[in-house]
Symmetry: C3
Subunit: 352 residues, 3 copies
Amino acid sequence: MSDKTNPGHFFEDFRLGQRLVHATPRTVTEADVGLYIALTGSRFPLHCSDTFAGACGLEAAPLDDLLVFHIAFGKSVPDVSLNAVANLGYADGRFGAPVYPGDTLTTVSEVIGLKPSSGGATGVVWVRSHCVNQVDEPVVSWVRWVLVEKRDPDSLAPESVVPELPEAVPFAELQVPAGFEGAGYDCLLAGSPHLWEDYAVGERIDHRDAMTLEEAEHQLATRLYQNTARVHFDQLAAAGNRFGRRIVYGGHVISLARALSFNGLANACRIVAINGGRHVGPTFAGHTISAWSEVLDKGALPGRDDLGALRLRTVATKDRPCADFPDRAADGKPDPAVVLDLDYTVLMPRRG
Amino acid sequence: MSDKTNPGHFFEDFRLGQRLVHATPRTVTEADVGLYIALTGSRFPLHCSDTFAGACGLEAAPLDDLLVFHIAFGKSVPDVSLNAVANLGYADGRFGAPVYPGDTLTTVSEVIGLKPSSGGATGVVWVRSHCVNQVDEPVVSWVRWVLVEKRDPDSLAPESVVPELPEAVPFAELQVPAGFEGAGYDCLLAGSPHLWEDYAVGERIDHRDAMTLEEAEHQLATRLYQNTARVHFDQLAAAGNRFGRRIVYGGHVISLARALSFNGLANACRIVAINGGRHVGPTFAGHTISAWSEVLDKGALPGRDDLGALRLRTVATKDRPCADFPDRAADGKPDPAVVLDLDYTVLMPRRG
Amino acid sequence: MSDKTNPGHFFEDFRLGQRLVHATPRTVTEADVGLYIALTGSRFPLHCSDTFAGACGLEAAPLDDLLVFHIAFGKSVPDVSLNAVANLGYADGRFGAPVYPGDTLTTVSEVIGLKPSSGGATGVVWVRSHCVNQVDEPVVSWVRWVLVEKRDPDSLAPESVVPELPEAVPFAELQVPAGFEGAGYDCLLAGSPHLWEDYAVGERIDHRDAMTLEEAEHQLATRLYQNTARVHFDQLAAAGNRFGRRIVYGGHVISLARALSFNGLANACRIVAINGGRHVGPTFAGHTISAWSEVLDKGALPGRDDLGALRLRTVATKDRPCADFPDRAADGKPDPAVVLDLDYTVLMPRRG
């Protein structure tokens, strides 16, 4: 094998405190915005209309928050998870400055936890990743942990260090984009009269619509994010795995669930935190994705009566409508149709 | 079911004169232009080249007219046709100001006709939709009528009001974009020497080329237009319908037929009216679309010797080449391969 | 058949010295850049980041060189190869001015060779094509030759004229984009420490990753380039050909191979010449493309110590990993899995 090819990092290659500067810096453009609409059908007006965003005090329509996350995340794949057996979870995701077409995004990660598996052939790696724009403003940061193969199962294992992670980003630490004013938000154009006051903790919403996955679509999305995990692209190799299929990038399912959630959560205008998330099961081309959401918590924001925060849980299923909110069974095991369980926080305009 | 989810309007929900403001305002961009080329293969130079458009007196290449129509139309779907059993027809479509990247489009519809079906379970709704740009200039308006389900088959039916619709937009009422001059139109770069004078009423043209539909492609197109009709996206639900398949958005077939018509109608540089149109049959992924056109009428434009109008009929088929112009049989029934019968009017440069 | 439809040129229609001005001039945009990333997964930083390109002395990120080539090439198809039986080869491809979003590309071809086939029913046509931007700067030129059908097998054949073509574009004639400075190139952000000095003639690199072809993806790519060859789009017609399948545009395979080559050749930052290339075998949706490369030659550039040239050969295969560098057998015949054999020259930063 050539010494010039990147085989990805194995568990032994990670060191606590290690800093990984990820390739490739990326100038995001209106093309990302348009492709994201074409790939997900998202209709949140703040991300679709410069005039709508302008009325809310922003300079233009910022990129969809999840689009930013996927591009930021994709950069970390070649250095963090090329040899990952599994993506175990996300936590403490925080969105900062809005991202506009023309901004250039770069991601750096730091290793914050390591834990050899008991079997010896793998280990868990925790990284905190930071994505910044061209003037070094943080646009999104998050923690994720992955189960990574060892190069040599007999190599010496490092001491276990497991980071403490918050259950959720506190409402008081959420960042409202500079200049953003809920007063300018037009519910009529947004397509829904339901504002922050109208949602109750514990309320559940079936998003009704559904979307069938296609190979070409998830591949286009995942390549757009320059995510290089081969399980998404290489059917020849996939034919030999336990599924026999290319696995859809979990982030694509997150984006579909968020786009579907427009029907019921149209005014959830900005994602400000990803508190946690699990890809409960794999999805493949041909699966039809549905989604429902639950209001986990709601809170005011310090000093603001124009916007409030909702902590949401959005559950996505495959080949299973969500009218009856498929969830965990009595034994705590998720319904076999559930593929995603995402805990995140959004901003929503208040009546003021 | 949550009260926050939009179930779509049923027949009882429509009132004569009712005004529906549609979500989501949309800033169109170069991404829409590029995706439209990728999805249709359209080659009309006015929509592909800023220098070509500039030579014709326009500030830049305007968006393809059908791209504008589909985006404008898509907005009306959640409020008008989410519970439609069938899209029955279009009429009186009029194109106004050209749309450029950066413009923001909003659509409003007015209910102009209602007719309960004899069976009682459905009714026909006519709406006139108006799409405007960010400075409130009309960019396209049209009438369409749809067969919509009743929520309650026993509900009281309104009095029938059926609007009168013109057979075609009169040539004298067609709008030429401000500043547009046929004199600057370069036939050599456009790829065809055939101008307005060269087309005869009754002339038929087989467009020769053909395009096979893919699920990923029609879904990408339909989501780009933020058209939410679930029949296009949800295979799980479609498996239970009479076709067992996702139905391709009829507008995608219109766009493919128009793109194919470049071979024979390259200088039909701008659509100025959609006089009428019927989706004669459904299409599915795997169908190969071919098209032929007939010149229905031609006319001069008041005060202009640089441009003329052609009223065209373009017929699209599935899995059937068009060298012999498949059409209605002697009994008036369309050839079973015909899927689209579109009556529209274009501008074409004159020799002057 | 209508006289308004372009049936494509047959062998008899070509004359030595004939000049073909191709439709449609095309303003390239950020949409082309974004779609190209989504279609290929390319990660070369010079084409992805305005800040990275700016640090190297360019005004912005130029379009990927192959994207420019495909758009330029697509224009020539309706006039050169609509009736081609086979694309026989490329030679003497030279890249000139970088192309930026907003530039408008036009292609003109000249017939430089003709050779009737011995059988009589076909002939080989050589054309040199030139693509220029809106201020008439050459952006790319190349020679290709195609086997074209005769309209009438008994028509008189012209005298054979076979052009002399260079084996490779000499290093001294390669064009470095104005202002481009290797000194500003950041290897850390590019994701690879390997520079021009580190590559040895004869070195071979397996690019490891692989990409499975989908109908929707190759069709989107080929339509984006406005390449109208019906073999890529028309399954109804393809069902009757010897493969029974739509054939993937060879240029899409070139782009995938180049994108895959990032893993091992990340700093091959600009293609400056296409010396030769053969589509050794057809590819279809479902095939998984892998690639490996060999350094054929390396050379300094006159007066520059910041950049060097590498002449590369990239071989792509279908359904066959490249860890053992599949190539020609002892009898000179290519491995049956090989689909592409491309000889090209890149710029790469030097240590200086």
